[in-house]
C-alpha cells in the first residue's frame, strides 16, 4: 500500500540532506580500488587525471612538483584577482586611488593584493623551472612535442599576464612599463626606418596603436590592458592549460625512463599470474580500439598506484604548500605601489620587475633586437628543440646521463664567461656608437652585445653537437647557456644598474639627486 503523497512529501523533505549527499557523492568515500577508480572517473575535476598513476611520476625528485605549483598559483591568482576586480577601477583618474583603497581601506584588501602579487611571481618562477625540468629530463621528445609547444604558449601567457598586471595600478612603475612596452611594439620601425619604408609598411606603428588604442598611453591603453589581463589572457591561458593537462594523459602520463618498467628496477613487480583469473571482481569492457605498438598490459600496470589517494594527496600537499608560501610572503612583504603615474618624469632608473630585467638589459642595446628579435629567436629555438632532437633513449633521465651533466657544467662555465665578458666589454668600452659616432643604426640593430651573445651561444651549441656527435648534447648546451645568460643579465640589471642605466657596483654609489 502506497503512502499518501503528502506523507511521502514530508518523508522526502526530511531525507533531503541524505539524498543530496548520495546524489553528489555517489558512493561515499571509496574503500576498494574499484570505488577509488570510480571516484576518479565519475568526477569531472578528477577525471582529468588517470585512475592509476605510475609510481615514478610521484617522485618529487623527478617533477619537483613544479607544474602543480604553477597551477596552484594560477588558482590562487584567479581567486584573489576576482576579489581585486570588485574594487579596482580601470580608469587613469581612479585606478591609483582604488589601489590605495584596496591597500588601506578595504577589509583584507592588502593581504589579497599581496598574495596576488606573490602568487604571480611564484607562477613565473615555477613555470620557468618547470620548463627547465621538462627540458633537462628530455621530456619534450615524441610523443610530447605538442605539449612542449603548448607549454611554451603557457609561458608566454604567464609573462604577458604579469606584464599587463603590473600596469594596472597606474603608478610610476605601471605607467612607464606601458610606455616602454608600447614603444617595444613600435620598435620594428628601427628596421623599417633604416630601409626608409616606414611610410609604406609601418608594422611598429600598427602594433603600438593596437596595444594603446591611441597614439599615447592613456585611458584607452589602460582599458585595453585591463581587458587583456582580466579576460583575454586568462581565457587563453585556461584553454591552453586544459589542453596541456589533457595531453599529459594522451601522451601516456608523465615521462619516465624506460628502465623503471624493466626487470631490475626498484619498483618493478612482475606481472601477477592470474590477473585475468576468471571469477574475480574485476570486469573488463572494450572501450576503444587504439593504434599503437605497445599494449601496456604487460608490465606497466604493476608499477602504478591508485591516483586516489596517492596522487591526490601529493597534489593537495603541493597546493597547500603554495598557499602557505604565498600567504606568509603576502603577510610580511607588501606589494609595491609607487607614486601616482607622472607622464613628465620617469623614474630613474625605471626598472621592470625582475623577470623582465634581462630583456631590459637587452633593449638597452637595441629596442628591436632586445624587445622583439632576441625573444623571438629564443622562442623559436625552444619550439624547434623537440623537432631537431628526435632520437635517443635517455628520456626521463636528468641531463640524459653523466655526459649530459658534464655538458651542463661546461655550458654553465662557458655561458658565464662569455656573458660576463660581453657585459664587461660593453660597460667599460661602450659599443659601436662610442667608437664610430656616425655608424648607421641598422648595424647596431644587427650587431649589438645581445646578438653577439646569441651568436656565441649558437656556436657553442653547434660545437657541442659536433664534439659529442649528439643533437641532445647540443640542445643541453644551448638551453643551459641561454639560461645562464638570462640569469646573469637579470642579475646585472637588477643589482648593478643605476641612474641613467649606468653601471654601479653598489647601490650606495648612486649619485644623489
Amino acid at each position: 500500500m502506497e503512502k499518501p503523497a503528502l506523507t511521502q512529501f514530508i518523508d522526502n523533505l526530511k531525507s533531503v540532506p541524505d539524498a543530496a549527499r548520495r546524489a553528489f557523492l555517489k558512493n561515499g568515500l571509496p574503500e576498494s580500488e574499484r570505488e577509488r577508480s570510480q571516484m576518479s572517473f565519475h568526477n569531472f575535476f578528477l577525471h582529468m587525471q588517470s585512475v592509476r598513476t605510475h609510481k615514478h611520476s610521484l617522485r618529487w625528485t623527478y617533477t619537483l612538483g613544479l607544474g602543480i605549483i604553477a597551477t596552484a598559483a594560477l588558482i590562487i591568482l584567479t581567486a584573489t584577482g576576482v576579489l581585486l576586480m570588485v574594487y579596482y577601477k580601470p580608469s587613469t583618474e581612479l585606478a591609483y586611488y582604488s589601489m590605495k583603497d584596496i591597500n588601506y581601506v578595504v577589509f583584507g584588501g592588502r593581504i589579497v593584493r599581496n598574495v596576488h602579487r606573490w602568487a604571480a611571481h611564484l607562477m613565473v618562477v615555477a613555470a620557468l623551472l618547470h620548463m627547465a625540468r621538462v627540458f633537462y629530463t628530455g621530456s619534450y621528445r615524441r610523443p610530447r612535442e605538442v605539449n612542449w609547444l603548448i607549454g611554451l604558449g603557457l609561458l608566454v601567457m604567464t609573462l604577458a599576464l604579469s606584464f599587463t598586471g603590473y600596469i594596472l595600478p597606474w603608478d610610476q612603475l605601471g605607467y612607464w612599463a606601458a610606455t616602454i612596452g608600447a614603444n617595444i611594439a613600435q620598435s620594428p620601425r628601427e628596421v623599417t626606418d633604416a630601409f626608409g619604408i616606414t611610410h609604406a609598411v609601418d608594422v611598429g606603428g600598427l602594433g603600438k596603436q593596437m596595444l594603446l588604442g591611441a597614439s599615447f598611453v592613456g585611458e584607452d591603453a589602460l582599458l585595453r590592458f585591463y581587458v587583456l589581463h582580466c579576460v583575454v589572457l586568462p581565457g587563453l591561458l585556461m584553454t591552453l592549460l586544459g589542453l596541456h593537462f589533457w595531453r599529459i594523459r594522451k601522451d601516456g602520463g608523465l615521462s619516465r625512463p624506460e628502465s623503471v618498467d624493466k626487470p631490475g628496477a626498484p619498483d618493478y613487480k612482475p606481472v601477477q599470474p592470474g590477473i585475468f583469473k576468471p571469477g574475480t571482481e574485476k570486469t573488463y569492457g572494450l572501450m576503444a580500439l587504439v593504434k599503437g605498438s605497445k599494449p601496456t598490459v604487460g608490465t606497466a600496470p604493476e608499477n602504478t598506484v591508485m591516483s586516489w589517494p596517492h596522487l591526490m594527496y601529493a597534489e593537495a600537499a603541493v597546493f597547500a604548500l603554495t598557499m602557505a608560501i604565498t600567504l606568509v610572503l603576502g603577510y610580511f612583504l607588501n606589494a609595491p605601489l609607487k607614486e601616482i603615474a607622472n607622464p613628465m618624469v620617469p623614474e630613474n632608473p625605471a626598472k621592470a620587475p625582475w623577470y623582465f630585467l634581462g630583456l631590459q638589459e637587452l633593449v638597452s642595446y637595441s629596442a628591436f633586437m632586445g624587445g622583439i628579435g632576441i625573444p623571438t629567436i629564443t622562442l623559436v629555438s625552444l619550439a624547434l628543440i623537440p623537432f631537431l632532437d628526435r632520437k635517443g633513449s635517455d628520456v626521463g633521465i636528468w641531463f640524459g646521463g653523466a655526459a649530459g651533466k658534464k655538458v651542463f657544467w661546461q655550458s654553465v662555465l662557458f655561458g658565464a664567461m662569455v656573458t660576463v665578458g660581453m657585459l664587461a666589454l660593453t660597460i667599460t668600452q661602450g659599443w659601436l656608437r662610442t667608437w664610430i659616432p656616425n655608424i648607421p643604426q641598422l648595424v647596431i640593430t644587427v650587431v649589438n652585445p645581445g646578438t653577439v651573445l646569441v651568436g656565441l651561444y649558437a656556436w657553442w651549441s653547434l660545437s657541442n653537437i659536433k664534439r659529442h656527435n649528439s643533437i641532445r648534447m647540443g640542445a643541453v648546451a644551448m638551453f643551459t647557456v641561454f639560461l645562464v645568460g638570462f640569469i646573469l643579465l637579470t642579475y646585472v640589471a637588477a643589482i648593478h644598474r643605476g641612474p641613467n642605466w649606468h653601471f654601479y657596483w653598489l647601490h650606495s654609489q648612486w649619485p644623489p639627486h
Binding site: R189, M210, P343, N348, G430, N448, P499, N500, W501, H502
Partner: protein, 155 residues
C-alpha cells in the same frame, strides 16, 4: 558515380568538399581580420598637441626652457626659435638636460645639444618639432609635426 573522376582527376565530391572547406576558411579568415580591425582605432583620441606660447618677446635670446607638461624643450638663440622633443626615440622615456646635451634615464641614451645620438640604444636623434607663427603674431609649437634638424623660426 559520385567518385567518378573527370579529366582533371577531381571527383565531384572532392570538388564540393574542397570548395566548402575553402569557403569556410575564407569566412574564418575574414572574421579574424574583422575582429582585429575593430580594436584598431579609426580616430586617434587625444588632446591637440599644438601649443600656443604667445608673444615671442616673452622669450629672450638665450632661452632654453622645458615645457614640462608638454615634454618639449624650447630654445631661442640668435638665429631664432627651435623646439626639441623630450621624448626619447628609444622607448619613450623623458630625457633630461645635462651639461653636454640630453640624457635618457631609462636605458642610457645620450644626445648632443642639437639632439643627435651620441651614445646608447636610441635609433635616431631627438625629434625637432615645428615652431611657427600664429596669425596673431605669437609662436606655436606643433608636437605632431617633425622638422629637419637645424630648422629654426626666424622672428
Amino acid at each position: 558515380m559520385s567518385d567518378k573522376k573527370n579529366e582533371n582527376g577531381i571527383s565531384r565530391r572532392e570538388f564540393l568538399t574542397k570548395g566548402a572547406l575553402g569557403s569556410f576558411l575564407v569566412a574564418m579568415g575574414g572574421a579574424t581580420v574583422g575582429g582585429f580591425a575593430l580594436p584598431k582605432p579609426t580616430v586617434s583620441p587625444g588632446p591637440s598637441r599644438r601649443y600656443k606660447l604667445g608673444d615671442p618677446g616673452k622669450f629672450p635670446v638665450g632661452t632654453a626652457m622645458k615645457m614640462d607638461k608638454e615634454n618639449i624643450f624650447l630654445f631661442r638663440d640668435v638665429e631664432g626659435f627651435y623646439a626639441i622633443t623630450a621624448v626619447c626615440t628609444h622607448l619613450g622615456c623623458i630625457v633630461v638636460r645635462v651639461d653636454d646635451g640630453f640624457a635618457c634615464p631609462c636605458h642610457g641614451s645620450r644626445f648632443a645639444p642639437d639632439g643627435h645620438v651620441v651614445e646608447g640604444p636610441a635609433p635616431r636623434g631627438l625629434l625637432w618639432l615645428e615652431v611657427s607663427r600664429t596669425p596673431d603674431g605669437g609662436v606655436m609649437v606643433d608636437a605632431d609635426v617633425e622638422v629637419d634638424l637645424g630648422t629654426k623660426l626666424v622672428v
